[in-house]
Symmetry: none
Subunit: 242 residues, 2 copies
DNA sequence: CTCGCTCACTTGTATTATGCTTGTCTACAT
DNA sequence: ATGTAGACAAGCATAATACAAGTGAGCGAG
């Protein structure tokens, strides 16, 4: 005599239904489900808690149950995630400060940061001794005046400023390596590179950092997951430049 | 099988409406909107605050809500948004089928789609008569056998298949233009291009489409918003390739 | 004409209340 | 061990209301 465990059945049924739904999809309430499956609320909960243990759904008290967000990939929020990722793979990350100077802001930096005098830090990132990124950071002179060359060598810029950041807006494009970058990255001049221009803003909405990241094409690429389900908070896009 | 959260619906409705509006466009007042949607002002505000978090709109006390000056980003959820975005700007999008053939799948396509025989469609996208993308789509032969050259010329691949898609995973990299692409895009050979490789999967999780998109670097770039606050749905990342 | 004021309208921010949902517990039946 | 029934606390979504504070247009005094 095989006895079926009801809440396991229910969990399986829900699993099947939810596989088709995208992250963020809100489930009917436990009460609704208990009526729908004709079981008690407790039993529904058992099933849902099973699914939660599997990471398929999440819940918030007073709100409801919803399909969990896709497994979090490396967020681009911090550059150092890249370095973290590297050390996870057993690769030894390294930073080399190439330049550290207070300079007049070039036009496109002034346009975004809105200040004339800036600190410019140029840095070479290496993985296992091989260069894989040239990063240039511009930062308003007032903010950077207490920073030393050794400071920026040790930890990422974001932490040094001690500001509460809201987020960043980034532009990803392709370009040909100029002479300076090519030399640093040990690639031929004019070979293709990924070029990312990032503007970081504080919670107050004021842009406080601008940075340019140059990656050699043959060693780096971005991965993007497109949920397609709900354009909830995924404002990414391709755009034409004039 | 869906519970709706009112303010999220409203946010989505507003998102759709605002996409067509330019920066500076002033929205109706919160009171007007609450009457229009037949909800309380609190609910309207929550929707608007969501949009503000996304950077889509801004507000000034005593004045009102208006579309933010930041360029309106498009979700990458659908490929055709690119063309939709173009026509929004008054640019005339155009498609030109360069190739339409059933072929043996090359290695990297077979590895992802898991089938030997595929339909390969190569297409040139133009904006106002100027080429801006070369798109190559591989699709399992069984799925594509009822398609004609004219079909793919008229509407995007996604709609033709009539499958329920879950999403896609995309890799963005830089490369040098090969001879064929350079000729189509009217750019010099070896000039830098953005290269996107996309694998589209159905709700069942089966990959059904693989596509390669080549964009000339000087005309195109990706924009990515990094919320930083919520690591919830920021499925972007940079990775090294061997 | 300009200056300063008023007034209608806007967003920002509380407070209070209701209904619904999850979280948790006890008691009980099979 | 598994399932049912009920009760209660805590949290969320929404509504209704009130008030403070900022904006801008108009109007009148000078």
């Amino acid at each position: 005599m095989m006895r079926t465990i009801r809440y396991q059945e229910i969990a399986q049924t829900l699993r099947d239904q939810l596989r088709a739904e995208g992250p963020g999809h809100v489930l009917p309430s436990e009460s609704d489900l208990s009526a729908q499956f004709d079981v008690s609320r407790v039993t529904v909960r058992r099933a849902l808690e099973m699914l939660r243990d599997e990471g398929l759904v999440e819940s918030r008290q007073g709100f409801g149950w919803y399909v969990a967000t896709a497994p979090v990939q490396q967020s681009l929020s911090h550059l150092d995630t890249i370095e973290g990722q590297l050390s996870d793979r057993g690769v030894r990350p390294e930073r080399q400060i190439v330049e550290f100077a207070f300079v007049d802001a070039p036009e496109r930096v002034r346009a975004r940061l809105g200040c004339d005098h800036v600190l410019r830090v140029k840095r070479l990132n290496l993985a296992d001794g091989e260069p894989f990124a040239v990063v240039t950071v511009w930062c308003p002179a007032e903010l950077g005046e207490h920073l030393s060359r050794r400071d920026v060598e040790r930890q990422p810029f974001y932490e040094l400023l001690g500001l509460e950041l809201r987020g960043a807006s980034q532009i990803i494009g392709a370009a040909a390596a100029d002479e300076a970058d090519a030399a640093l990255l040990e690639i031929p001049v004019d070979s293709p590179v990924l070029r990312c221009e990032r503007v970081t803003t504080t919670v107050a909405g004021q842009p406080v950092l601008m940075s340019e990241h140059i990656f050699p094409a043959h060693r780096t690429e971005f991965t993007v997951e497109l949920p397609l389900a709900e354009p909830s908070i995924v404002p990414s896009g391709l755009r034409l430049v004039e």
